[in-house]
Point group: C2
Amino acid sequence: MGKQNLTLLTDFYELTMMQGYYNNKNNDTVVFDVFYRENPCGSGYAICAGLEQVIDYIKNLRFKEDDIEYLRSLKIFDEDFLTYLKTFRFSGDIYAIPEGTVVFPMEPLVKVIAPIMEAQLVETALLNIINHQSLIATKASRVVYAANGQPVMEFGLRRAQGPDAGTLGARAAVIGGCIGTSNVLSAKLYDLPTLGTHAHSWIMSFEDELEAFRKYAQLYPHSTTLLVDTYDTLRSGVPNAIKVFEELLQAGKMPERYGIRLDSGDLAYLSKKARKMLDAAGFPKATITASSDLDEYIIDSLKTQGCKIDSWGVGTKLITSRDCPSFGGVYKLAAIKKDGNFIPKIKLSENQTKITNPGNKKIYRVYEKDSNKIKADLITLVDEEYSSDNPLLLFDPNATWKKTYLEPNTYTLRELMVPIFLSGECVYTSPSVMDIREYCKKEQETLWDEARRLINPHIVYVDLSNKLYQMKTELLDHYVDNQII
Amino acid sequence: MGKQNLTLLTDFYELTMMQGYYNNKNNDTVVFDVFYRENPCGSGYAICAGLEQVIDYIKNLRFKEDDIEYLRSLKIFDEDFLTYLKTFRFSGDIYAIPEGTVVFPMEPLVKVIAPIMEAQLVETALLNIINHQSLIATKASRVVYAANGQPVMEFGLRRAQGPDAGTLGARAAVIGGCIGTSNVLSAKLYDLPTLGTHAHSWIMSFEDELEAFRKYAQLYPHSTTLLVDTYDTLRSGVPNAIKVFEELLQAGKMPERYGIRLDSGDLAYLSKKARKMLDAAGFPKATITASSDLDEYIIDSLKTQGCKIDSWGVGTKLITSRDCPSFGGVYKLAAIKKDGNFIPKIKLSENQTKITNPGNKKIYRVYEKDSNKIKADLITLVDEEYSSDNPLLLFDPNATWKKTYLEPNTYTLRELMVPIFLSGECVYTSPSVMDIREYCKKEQETLWDEARRLINPHIVYVDLSNKLYQMKTELLDHYVDNQII
């Protein structure tokens, strides 16, 4: 995103509503939650990501002179409102779950507590950033899970939905577990390993494939991966690669890392055949990299078929999250401060799962003590304190007869949200992306295997505290009793 | 994309190959084509878009000192290559089909003729930009087609894949036919109409819905669209909206444009009920806007069900092209200049449709003279000249017995590609986005209805000239005869 001022990266209605609040002299402090209702891609969890860019955005929120000029040209904003915008700064609090954390539906990933004009303005950009990166981080974690310990490289820039989607997408993919990216700009901006070798055009720029391979191996003597499918993989590409490896061996110039890349055709069949050819020629250490419209399902299927692939270059279907290209994060008003107290607010819907959780909330993650695996998440009001010294009764808010009782000291608790901004000041330092990646890996280890599987995963419960549940029920009753619904 | 320097927005292998060409002292002039193999979303055509951003990118291609520093830190690039990069400029020619043109598979949308080092570097960014915007423009044109003359508004920023995807996506959506966007930054950057009213949070910030509606109508007296589904659409939202319209009428303050927006629930049922309620209350001119996970299929289905919706706000499924979130544009070497002549190059594949078209090419669009509808596209070599004074024999390159014979003067011809850069100088001025939108609308009128329908559209033929077909066949034979395949 770099240097583009993103202050106008907002839906027009945020600004018309802001002016509305301004004219009504309503600048009450409010609580907005960013949360989502369903895990993407049929996953049993999501990985939250994008916080570093949210922080940049909030820090740089300023209406420049040309922004004001533009808004004036729309002839819908009053001069006193435009004057107010000139000195606009974010002055509120933001709490968030750190990037790379495993998260579940309905829990606030980000919580904004700010005067309503400020809280309203930032809605769209926050959703845009969090939705995008959480989507790609989640997708990447699934692809990496399918690769089962083998390296996955992010190769999708050319098919990403614009420059940011490629660059921020690569960032998120690495958070989700990719070992690096082909995207040089992203690698530079976020200090990621950059990866890649050569394309078909390299081969085609030479008279023949063998010469192209030879030259490439000369140029990059430490790490030589040869793309073998320009003409014919098994009849031309692999034999020519082997010839080059033999020449290097005879010359005493064997690269530290060497191998081939398959980019088309039946990867199960070709990798098995290529493996045999490489082994027979005395190159059991030659690696086989595959790329070609891969995703978690294809990788899983290739592995089931006994493919002989060592590493994976994943492009289009990861960088666009092809089977589910949006993350349904929403931004909902949860409370309004009146006379020092947060008055809970609720958004109704005929659809039970679309009814929001009211109030100023926090989240406890409940781990089974012995395994350190996630037992459930518990959303509570901020003034509730829980301790693992006490027994804990969890219940499903949608089916309250489903109860789980935890004995004292059989579980541990962790609060998920941390302060990011307090009174407009940033109080949080984002870790490096590679550190977030490490953290994310550990986070995924707190999931039961059943919650990680690609298809039909176990659902991790996100429960409400009794106090929050009662508050929600009372608010619903209030609306029903008053015949509003 | 703004001010971010995009020179490093490239796959790492473009740079390693560049260094390879540099070290091999190979800087032959080459021809690369950007083309795609299949229309997205099951469409019968695509809309090409993104050229203005390609031009910006090419104009600003410069390795800054910190880019060089970063590349040096990777310890894979030689100092003389890095020195070469410092003064790197694009010096070649680029031809392209203007934005907003209806295009078909296999035809070059962009053609780069440049020294191979330059042509190789720009691959990834060109594909990223053209793939993204062509995808969204195509998707938008389908949604607009389904709306059948009713306005479609782009509302997707919060679910777009990052800031650029929202902002450049809105640009592309307007090219494809949307009347405007909620994205203020995009509206500012590309001079687009900006649209939108208020959110549920506006309603929830007041004690009751009626008061929220009243205030909103006071604030925006010229155009008042009230969101009616915060609590209960038919029992609360619509009656309250009607009450406000009645009050405005009595006060002699009826807005020029007024109406309601439905954002959830069964839009067919709710719109019919709401229409009756509005009509019965004496407001037949109140418009009904709908939003809520719409796409071309849902709009089409709602219309079939006799919905009473007047305008459409389309978000997630348009801005991500949800059912097909990538456009498969590729960048393939077509020729290498040796001793002043272009030597054709071909990329083979076991899959017939993946075999590239060799040579330095251009495209004629063939229109039926009477109707001005597209008969076919004809890809030829650049030195071929066609005139509609002559008869024209078209044949399907994949089934050469399928022939169409056109009598002289029963058809017209138009060359699709125009020069964009010549010897590194930009010779093209991009029209405004709203002008491209108008052009695109006329372009779509050159399609037969059968090619525009949403499902199973008629395929428009893209044929090869006899000379190009012969060249391709000879190249294939050469490889087969030499047992390369």
